[in-house]
Amino acid sequence: MNDTIAAISTSLGIGAISIIRVSGKDSIKIVNKIFKGPNLEKVKTHTINYGYIVENEEIIDEVLVSVMKEPKTYTRENIIEINCHGGIATTNRILNLILKDNVRLAEPGEFTKRAFLNGRIDLTKSEAVMDLIESKTESARKLAINQLQGNTYQLIKLFRNKLKNLISSIEVNIDYPEYYDIEVITIEKIKKEVKKMKQELANIIEKSKNSKIIKTGIDTLIIGRPNVGKSSILNKLLGEEKAIVTDIAGTTRDLVEGQITLNNIALNIIDTAGIRKTDNKVEKIGVEKSLSLIEKADLVIVVLNGNELLSDEDKQILEKIEKKTTIIDINKNDLPQKINLNQLETYSHNIVSTNTNQLEGIDSLKNKIIEMFNLEKINIKDYNFLTNVRQITLAQNAYKKLGDVQKGIESNFPIDMIEIDLRACFDLLGEIIGETYSDEIIDNLFKNFCVGK
C-alpha cells in the first residue's frame, strides 16, 4: 500500500501526447535511472525537465518530465509525470521500463485514493470519487478469484508447487536438523531446479508478451438493429473507462471505434452502426462487411431491446453469430421487459441485462466480459499465457528473484539466505494466481516429512 505506482494517465491513441504518472516514495529515483538529462533527484520541485528516456543507452523517446516532490502534490507523495511524444507503442515501452523496477501498475482510481488517504482531498470533494473507488475495489475483489484460469493457471500452479516442495525441503532441514533419514537438500539440487524454472518462466513471459491479448487486445464487435441502444452502450463504455495499457498497433484502425481497458484487458471496440442503415444496394455490401467483421471478431456483443418482443431482424443477427463467442445484451432494463427470454438461451448462455441511464447500468456487461475472458471462453489462439500487464510484471519480478537465487548460490551464501529469494519468488507467483496462504509451507512440510518427537 506504500509502494510506488505508475500508469498512463491520458487516453491512449487520442491525443498526440501521452502522460505517464508515477507516484510514491521512490518515483523520482526510479525515473531518474532511465532519464538522460538533468539529475531529477537534484532538480527543484515543481519543475519541467527536458531530456530523453533511455534503455541501455538506446534513446526511446524525447520527453518532458515534471518533478513534483511531496507534500505539495496530488497524492502528497513524490510524483513524476512523463510527457511522451512517441505514440502508443513508445508510451507502453516506457511504462514497462518503469514497471520493471519494483513499481506496480496503478489500479483504476488509485492516484485519487492515495490523494484521499494522504489527506489531500477533503470529504465533500471526494465522496463521489470514493464511491467509485469502493465499487471498483469491490469488483476487483470478486474478480481476483477468477483472475486466471485454465492452462496458465495450471502452469503457474505446477511451477509454484515445485518451488513449494523445494522450500519445504529446505525448511524441514532447518527446523529438524537432526533427522538423519531426511534427505538434506543440496545447493547443487537447488541450482539445477532454479535453472530449469528460470528457463520455463522466461518462456511464459516471452510468449505472454507476444500474445494477442497483450499486444492488440480483444476485438469486440457490437451489433444489433437500430435504436436498441448500441451507440449509448458504446459511448458509456468509452466514456467511463480510460485506456491504460496496450499496444494496439496492427488492429484495423478504421473500424475501431475506440479502445477501453477492463481489468487490464484491452477491448478494441468495433461498432457496426451505420452499416445497416444505408440503402439497399449498399446494404448488401454492408451485410457482407458485417459478416466478415463477425468472422474476425474475438467477441461479439449482440444488443437487443428488452422493452420489445424479439423481432425477425434480431433473430437473423443471432443466427449469424451462433458459432462465435457471444454476449447477448438485453438493453433498456429500466423499462418494462417484454422480450421473450426463453428463446435466447439457444443462442448463447451469456446473457446480461443493462441500461444506459443509471451509473452502474452496464456493469453487468463489463463484468461478464471480464468473467468470460478469465474463464478462457474467448477463443483466441495463443491464449495460454499471462494475459495482462499486472501478471506479466509479477512474473518478471519472480524471474528476477530466481536470478537473485543464482547470484546467492554463486557467492556461497548459506541455504537459508538463498531461500529468502526462493520464497519471494513463490509469493509473487502466488499473487499471479491469487493464492497467498500464510501457512502453506508449514502444511506442506508436515504433509511430506515425518518429523516430530
Partner: protein, 626 residues
C-alpha cells in the same frame, strides 16, 4: 485487596509471570497444585532447538529466568544448524529434570514480593467484567487486581493409556474440575487439545553397544547473556540414537485399534509436529524405519522420578501398557529394557486464543491474563515466553502504562503471540523458524540487541547489566566505523596476501568492511591489516552485518513495509457491519479478532487487500467526520 497479582499454575509460564510481577514490585501469589511440581518438565528433557532456543535467548534479553535456569541444569549442549546461516542457528540443551525445577523453586522462594501456595483454584471472582480474584477448592476467596492463568494441561486434564482414561496430571496429580466451565460461562470458546509422551525406561537396562552415541559441542555454550556455564563441556552426558524396525511397525499395525487415538478414545486435537509413533507408521507407511533418541532425564540418581529414566524421543504412543512392552522390546538395544513409566496421551481444555489481546489480557475480562498451554501452545519455551509477557503487561497495567507488544520483526515471542491472537490455532501451536517472515533479523546472536532495551525500560534489567549492554553496542558501532573507514590499496604485499587466502587480488582501493564481505575472508584475515581488540560477541555482530548485508537490507525493507501499516491504528469501537463493501467472510473475521492495526488486519486469513483498502478509506472518512 490481598494481592496485586495471582498467578494460577507453577509451570514454565507461571514461573516467568510470577517472577516478573514480583520483581517489578507487585505483591504476587503463585498458586500451584503441588509445590514439588513447580517448573517440572513432564515431556522431553531438553530446552531450546530451532526457533525455541532463540525464544529462550529473548526471554533472557528481556530479563526473564528460563535461560539462566536452563544454564544451571544443562548436562549436554549443542549449537544446531551450524552449517547453515546465522539466522537459523539455535542452541539446544539436554536438561537435568531434577535440577531444573529445584533451581527454579529456589529462585522463586528467594524473590521478594512472591508467595507460593499449594491449592487448587476452581472459580474466578468477577465484577462487571473485571477480575476480582479467585476461589479455591475449599471455597476460600483470595482477592487480587490481576489474575494470570497458566494452568497448562490441568483444565480437566485426562491421562489416556489405551482405553483407560484417568482424570489428573502426568504424575497423578488432581486437575481443576470447574475452572474451564467458569471460563465457558464467561464466554470463552473452550477447545479440547491433546498431546502425548513416550515411555521412560531404566537407563541400566539398555544395551548401549547397539546404539550410536550423540554428544554435545566441544565448547561451553549458554542461553543467558550472563555467559555463565555450569557444566564441564568435557564431561557432557551423551544421548543415543536407535531406530524402529519392521517388527516394531508390525506390532503397531496389529494393535492399532487398541491405542487411545485410533481406538477413538481421544476427543482432543493433537499436534501435527509431534505425531505419535502410530501416526508415523500409518501416515508414512513407506518408511522402513524411524529414528529415536535415548535421552537421559537426570544425573541425580537419588531422584525417585527421574534419576534412572531414559526418555525415548520419537516414540510417543497411547497404546495399552502390554503393547508398549512389546513395542519397546522390539527395538534394537532395548530388547531387555525395563519400562519405568508408560507412555500416555493427555487431553486438556484450552481457550480460543483469538479472544486475547496482543498484551495477553483477555478481551472478555479486564485484568485476566492467560499464558502457555491454556492458550493452545505447546512447548516449555513457548509457555515461558508468554508467561513473561503476561507478567510484564500485568505490571504495566497496574502502573497505568501501555502494554509491551513485541513486533514480528523484533522477536519470535512477538511472532508467537501475534499468530495466536490473529490466526488462532487448530492444533497445539509450536514455534518454527518458518513461521517468522523476518527470521534473518531474529537471530540467536542478536536477541539482546533486539530486546534488552525493553527489559530495561520495564525494569527487569538493572543498570549495571544495561550499561554492559550499551558498551557492547558502542563497540559494535566503533568497529564497524573502523572497518568502513580503513581502506587498503592494491599494493603488491596486499595482493600477495589475498592470493594466499584464495581471494582475488585488488584492482582498486577497498574498505576493510567491503573486503570482509567476501565469502572467503573472515575477521582473522582482517587482523592482518589492522589491530582488532574486541570481544568475540562484538566481532560476530560486525561480521554477520557485513557478510549478509544484502539479505539483511532486504529483510529490513520488507519489515519496514509492515511497520508502516503497523502504525495505522484501528479504533477499538469500530463496527464492521457499518462498512459497506467488505466481504462477509472478512467482516466476520475482523469483528471476531478486532485487529488493532492495519498490519494485523492484513494478516488475518480470509481478509484480502481489497477489504483492507475499503477499511482504510472508511477509517479516513470517519476520521474526517469527527
Amino acid at each position: 485487596m490481598d494481592y496485586e497479582v495471582i498467578v494460577v499454575g507453577g509451570g514454565h509460564a507461571g514461573c516467568e509471570a510470577a517472577l516478573a510481577t514480583a520483581r517489578l514490585g507487585h505483591k504476587t501469589l503463585l498458586i500451584t497444585g503441588n509445590i514439588n511440581n513447580i517448573a517440572d518438565m513432564p515431556c522431553n528433557p531438553s530446552i531450546g532447538g530451532p526457533a525455541k532456543g532463540i525464544v529462550v535467548r529473548e526471554i533472557d534479553a528481556l530479563g526473564g529466568e528460563m535461560g539462566k535456569n536452563a544454564d544451571k541444569a544443562a548436562i549436554q549442549v549443542k549449537m544446531l544448524n551450524t552449517k547453515k546461516g546465522p539466522a537459523v542457528q539455535a542452541l539446544r540443551a539436554q536438561e537435568d529434570k531434577n535440577i531444573y525445577p529445584k533451581e527454579m523453586l529456589k529462585t522463586l522462594q528467594q524473590t521478594k514480593n512472591l508467595e507460593i501456595k499449594e491449592a487448587l483454584v476452581e472459580h474466578l471472582m468477577l465484577e462487571n467484567n473485571k477480575i476480582k480474584g479467585i476461589i479455591l477448592e475449599n471455597n476460600q476467596k483470595i482477592e487480587s487486581k490481576i489474575v494470570i492463568l497458566t494452568t497448562g494441561t490441568y483444565l480437566k486434564g485426562t491421562i489416556l493409556i489405551g482405553s483407560t482414561k484417568t482424570p489428573g496430571g502426568p504424575h497423578g496429580e488432581r486437575h481443576s474440575k470447574f475452572l474451564s466451565d467458569d471460563l465457558k460461562k464467561i464466554g470463552f470458546n473452550i477447545l479440547r487439545l491433546k498431546t502425548g509422551t513416550p515411555p521412560r525406561i531404566d537407563k541400566n537396562s539398555i544395551d548401549y553397544e547397539k546404539t550410536k552415541v550423540e554428544t554435545g559441542d566441544c565448547k561451553e555454550l549458554t542461553f543467558s547473556f550472563d555467559n555463565k556455564a555450569y557444566y564441564n563441556y568435557q564431561e557432557q552426558t551423551p544421548c543415543h540414537l536407535i531406530y524402529t524396525n519392521e517388527k516394531t511397525h508390525q506390532i503397531i499395525k496389529d494393535h492399532l485399534k487398541e491405542s487411545s487415538m485410533y481406538g477413538g478414545y481421544v476427543e482432543g486435537i493433537g499436534p501435527r509436529y509431534c505425531p505419535s509413533i502410530e501416526d508415523k507408521v500409518v501416515r508414512f507407511s513407506d518408511k522402513e524405519r524411524h529414528q529415536l533418541f535415548l535421552e537421559p532425564e537426570s544425573n541425580q540418581i537419588d531422584d525417585k522420578t527421574y534419576g534412572n529414566t531414559i526418555y525415548i524421543q520419537g516414540f510417543s504412543t497411547s497404546m495399552p501398557q502390554k503393547i508398549q512392552e512389546e513395542m519397546v522390546h522390539s527395538l534394537k538395544s532395548l530388547e531387555e529394557a525395563k519400562i519405568l513409566k508408560y507412555a500416555y496421551a493427555i487431553e486438556y481444555d484450552a481457550i480460543d486464543s483469538k479472544q486475547l489481546k496482543q498484551s495477553l489480557e483477555t478481551k472478555l475480562v479486564e485484568g485476566l491474563f492467560t499464558a502457555g498451554q491454556i492458550n493452545g501452545t505447546s512447548g516449555y519455551e513457548e509457555a515461558a515466553g508468554q508467561g513473561l509477557i503476561a507478567g510484564i503487561n500485568a505490571s504495566l497495567k497496574l502502573k497505568g502504562k501501555p502494554p509491551l507488544i513485541l513486533k514480528r520483526n523484533e522477536s519470535y515471542i512477538g511472532v508467537l503471540i501475534d499468530d495466536l491472537v490473529t490466526k488462532g490455532i487448530k492444533d497445539p501451536y509450536r514455534l518454527l523458524t518458518s513461521r517468522a517472515e523476518y527470521r534473518l533479523l531474529l537471530r540467536h546472536d542478536n536477541a539482546d540487541l533486539r530486546l534488552r532495551k525493553y527489559g530495561y525500560e520495564v525494569g527487569l534489567i538493572n543498570e549495571a547489566k544495561y550499561k554492559q549492554f550499551k558498551t557492547k553496542v558502542e563497540n559494535i558501532n566503533e568497529l564497524t566505523q573502523k572497518l568502513k573507514t580503513t581502506k587498503i590499496t592494491p599494493k603488491k604485499e596486499v595482493n600477495e596476501y589475498l592470493i594466499k587466502q584464495k581471494s582475488s587480488p585488488l584492482k582498486d582501493g577497498i574498505s576493510l568492511y567491503d573486503l570482509l564481505k567476501r565469502p572467503e575472508i573472515n575477521i582473522e584475515n582482517i587482523k592482518y591489516f589492522i589491530n582488532i581488540n574486541y570481544n568475540i560477541e562484538v566481532i560476530e555482530q560486525v561480521e554477520i552485518n557485513a557478510k549478509y548485508e544484502g539479505y539483511i537490507n532486504k529483510a529490513l525493507k520488507e519489515a519496514q513495509k509492515m511497520l508502516d501499516l503497523e502504525n495505522k491504528l484501528i479504533p477499538e469501537d469500530i463496527d464492521y457491519n457499518n462498512i459497506p463493501n467488505i466481504a462477509s467472510e472478512a467482516k466476520q473475521k475482523l469483528s471476531e479478532i478486532k485487529p488493532t492495526t492495519i498490519a494485523q488486519a492484513l494478516r488475518i486469513s480470509g481478509v484480502n487487500p481489497a477489504d483492507i483498502s475499503i477499511l482504510m478509506v472508511y477509517l479516513k472518512k470517519r476520521g474526517q467526520h469527527e
